[in-house]
Symmetry: C2
Subunit: 239 residues, 2 copies
Amino acid sequence: MDMQSVDAAIPAQCATCRVRHRSICAVLTSEELHRLAGHSRHTFHEAGEALTMESDEVTGYATVIDGVIKLSRVLRDGRQQLVGLQFSADLLGRLYASESPLTAEAASEVELCRMPKLVLESLVGTSADLKQRLLDQSLQDLDEAREWMVTLGRKTAAERVASLLLLIAARSVGKGKSLTGSVTFDLPLVRNDMADFLGLTIETVSRQISKLRNEGTIVISSHRHVVVPDVERLRRRAG
Amino acid sequence: MDMQSVDAAIPAQCATCRVRHRSICAVLTSEELHRLAGHSRHTFHEAGEALTMESDEVTGYATVIDGVIKLSRVLRDGRQQLVGLQFSADLLGRLYASESPLTAEAASEVELCRMPKLVLESLVGTSADLKQRLLDQSLQDLDEAREWMVTLGRKTAAERVASLLLLIAARSVGKGKSLTGSVTFDLPLVRNDMADFLGLTIETVSRQISKLRNEGTIVISSHRHVVVPDVERLRRRAG
DNA sequence: CGATTTCCTTGATCGAAGTCAAATTGCCCT
DNA sequence: AGGGCAATTTGACTTCGATCAAGGAAATCG
């Protein structure tokens, strides 16, 4: 078996996929890829579009090709809390749940690769590698959720904002890469979303950003573009 | 193969185990049980004893036989946040981590069934059922962590205390059982632990408990014993 | 059994973040 | 380029929970 034939065996739509080597598809054999690709299709969504509502029946999963997705929960009286962000290559959807425990909403323009619920689930049943990958991913998501519990429970407003900037900075440079020196990125969230992620009000978020800007920890142009001249300094501000 | 011979094949120490049918051991074959039991031993710990420290090297996992364990993270300046509780039958330890991301401390008297890291991990590699079970568990832990993020980010002090009482009440009646009518249980946490779980101070927790007591939502005798005459009413107070 | 320590409650005051209100900025769209 | 709208910033004031302080109830121990 030479490389040529292996490559040829990959579905056409997967061969050009930008997240092919970082998504769950990275652990699938070409045969498994075919099984999945035969039922997959790409969809496009604009910022603000709801992708899944709390308590909705779950009909499928999706890999995030491009864009950022907000995961949130809402209390009966309307108070909202973001509980996670999903970036490029992440898998969207609560595995095995018949109804979604969360609301998923596009924070930016989003491209998804959707697949039917049962197709992915049966693949999990037959591929130990895929199951392992999903286990690793959910353990890491759990670590991140607990880390964020510390932010929500014990940090000041300024520390929370700094923590969020760090989190987004880390994602924007790419998973696994070290975060040092200076970083530049665009915020995928509007102030309101930041407030909902941080358990604060929009006014408090704005004031804390101004404070970080005034003390030189960050430089902001046009509300969305952020420059962090010294990541270590921002990290100290994050508590 | 008759039932007698199957039962006989179970390790002696497992045959009398109180959590045998609820812990990860429930999905193991008798052969796998033997592999595990050969390297397992029970340990006993008193309230307040540290079981694992943040950044400690992880040498093993443990099933909680009896008692309650606090999982926490501490900021450099000493602020502490509980990020989870582990009850009877739960598995203690972050799978695959070489160093613990959390501190684990006994909240009450605790009995553990300890097993070496590599023994469990190799069992996960060979048993699809075990891997599935661990995946299900970590997905559920993630759901709970996110649920708690809502509590920490968006609820008032009174709602947080009510939420914690509900969480403990649900665990005390047993997983999967419905929680309605009236419930009675003992708090496994002192006020200080409650405060650290809720992102509040001990004084605020005490005041909110007094408030819930004065309005008749709960009845408390001797600081630890709680009666909830109407669970639905407590649920409304939890936001 | 009384002494000591730890845990819990309650009161008085303070401060960080929330609320209400009013600019200001930037973006989209003819 | 200008008008309109949504997002953001900033200011004035309020409030909820933190902090500081004291006293009371329970568990622990000699």
